[in-house]
């Protein structure tokens, strides 16, 4: 039986990927960020997941122009890093786990989530930067990935509560996959940031640290945060935080914190990171 062993949340700022790809990780601006993830990389070597269900939002890369799904799941054998306007990131192709994807998709739809299945797509920094942060520069990613994409950009996204319940359904789906697999669920995006308009650069440290606290100590209370709350408090792009609720809904009530990191800024964004383990 497959089982969810741990959950990770992390920002996925594209500039972090660029800093990695261009060898700038030791520069004073970037060093604190990469240092902040060092314990997680050490922990990851121990945890050794076989599959990561990576929940993120596409940034007008493979979705959003013609097709805007609320919840989508990749069902391909592989996903190529996209050219987002400055050439593709020089990172390995992401190997999928098509059997697990198909199983999860089936289970979620039978559980009355109206998923969109994606049979072919390129993936952007929302998926590859978290892999880089957790695994560093590698020739081959040490995990296979089931990508789940959430619309957070075009109003209205799904509610935080719907995301939480998708996470719970995800846990049921994984638990019924017959093969033995160590599976992690990652929620990427956030924390507070806004990259549009005169209010750009908004950072709400109080909101972010409270959110991190509640992810660990009182996660159920996060389900009630409304779209309006996110937009007002965490910025128009901070609403990416709803991807974290899918991860948290998929993890057990009693998941314990293994690592936490918070830093401002990376480019326009507050970087937040949590490692939770099902015990």
């Amino acid at each position: 039986m497959a089982r969810i062993t741990a959950g990770v949340t992390t920002s996925h700022v594209p500039a972090i990927g660029a800093a990695l790809d261009n060898g700038k990780t030791a520069e004073p601006y970037w060093a604190p960020i990469f240092d902040g993830y060092a314990p997680s990389r050490a922990w990851m070597a121990e945890a050794a997941p076989e599959v990561v269900i990576l929940v993120f939002n596409d940034h007008a890369t493979s979705l959003m122009l013609d097709v805007v799904p609320t919840f989508a799941i990749g069902c391909a054998d592989a996903y190529t890093p996209a050219d987002e306007g400055w050439g593709p990131r020089p990172v390995p192709v992401v190997e999928g786990h098509a059997e697990l994807s198909a199983h999860i998709a089936q289970s979620l739809i039978l559980d009355e989530f109206d998923m969109t299945l994606i049979n072919a797509m390129d993936v952007d920094h929302g998926l590859t930067v978290p892999l880089s942060l957790m695994f560093g520069a590698v020739d081959r990613w040490p995990v296979r990935v089931v990508p789940i994409m959430v619309n957070v950009t075009q109003f209205p996204p799904p509610s935080g509560d719907r995301c939480w319940r998708l996470g719970e359904a995800l846990a049921r789906a994984v638990a019924s996959f017959p093969q033995d697999l160590r599976v992690q669920v990652w929620g990427t995006g956030g924390m507070s940031h806004q990259i549009q308009g005169p209010r750009a650069g908004l950072i709400n440290r109080a909101f972010d640290t409270d959110f991190l606290d509640r992810m660990v100590g009182d996660p159920q209370s996060l389900r009630g945060i409304t779209h309006l709350d996110y937009l007002r408090e965490a910025g128009s792009e901070g609403i990416e935080l709803i991807t974290w609720l899918i991860m948290r809904g998929a993890l057990g009530e009693g998941a314990v914190e293994r690592h936490r990191f918070y830093h401002v800024p990376a480019s326009n964004t507050a970087v937040g990171h949590l490692v939770l383990e099902n015990v």
């Binding site: 987002e84 400055w86 308009g197 908004l202 409304t226 480019s267």
Partner: protein, 133 residues
């Protein structure tokens, strides 16, 4: 429409913030197609070689085209654009996202960067137009 725990009209009460909707997506469809064309190096070269010429191959409005030529991101957003599409223009220009973003604010890129390093723009007074909080 279901009952919601907030008033949808308040989405327009956030200072300096535009909500991207299905209506925006429709108005900006061809502008966005242009942005996504920049995901290929050959198209970036075409655009750099003849900006107006490449833009003319997309059925966007004259206002949208002019806003692209002027790199007026606030105007592009007012005309329906969403920043996740629009940053592909900044990437084509070889500038950072932060630099493009700074042009939408009251700060130049140096002051914007300094503000971010100092902890970012405060939410204080930036949450509600009518409330001023």
């Amino acid at each position: 429409m279901p009952d919601l725990p907030y008033d949808l009209a308040d989405l327009h009460d956030i200072p300096g913030t535009t909500i991207f909707t299905a209506d925006s997506a429709r108005r900006a469809y061809h502008l966005h197609r242009f942005c996504m064309s920049l995901m290929k190096e050959e198209n970036r070269q075409r655009f750099r070689a003849d900006e107006a010429g490449w833009l003319a191959t997309f059925a966007m409005t004259a206002e949208q085209r002019d806003a692209v030529l002027a790199r007026d991101y606030n105007r592009m957003i007012a005309l329906g654009g969403n920043i996740y599409f629009l940053v592909k223009i900044a990437s084509t220009d070889g500038i950072s996202v932060a630099q493009a973003v700074s042009t939408m604010t009251d700060l130049d890129v140096a002051d914007y960067t300094a503000m971010m390093i100092a902890g970012g723009r405060t939410p204080q007074g930036n949450r509600s137009i009518k409330g001023g909080w």
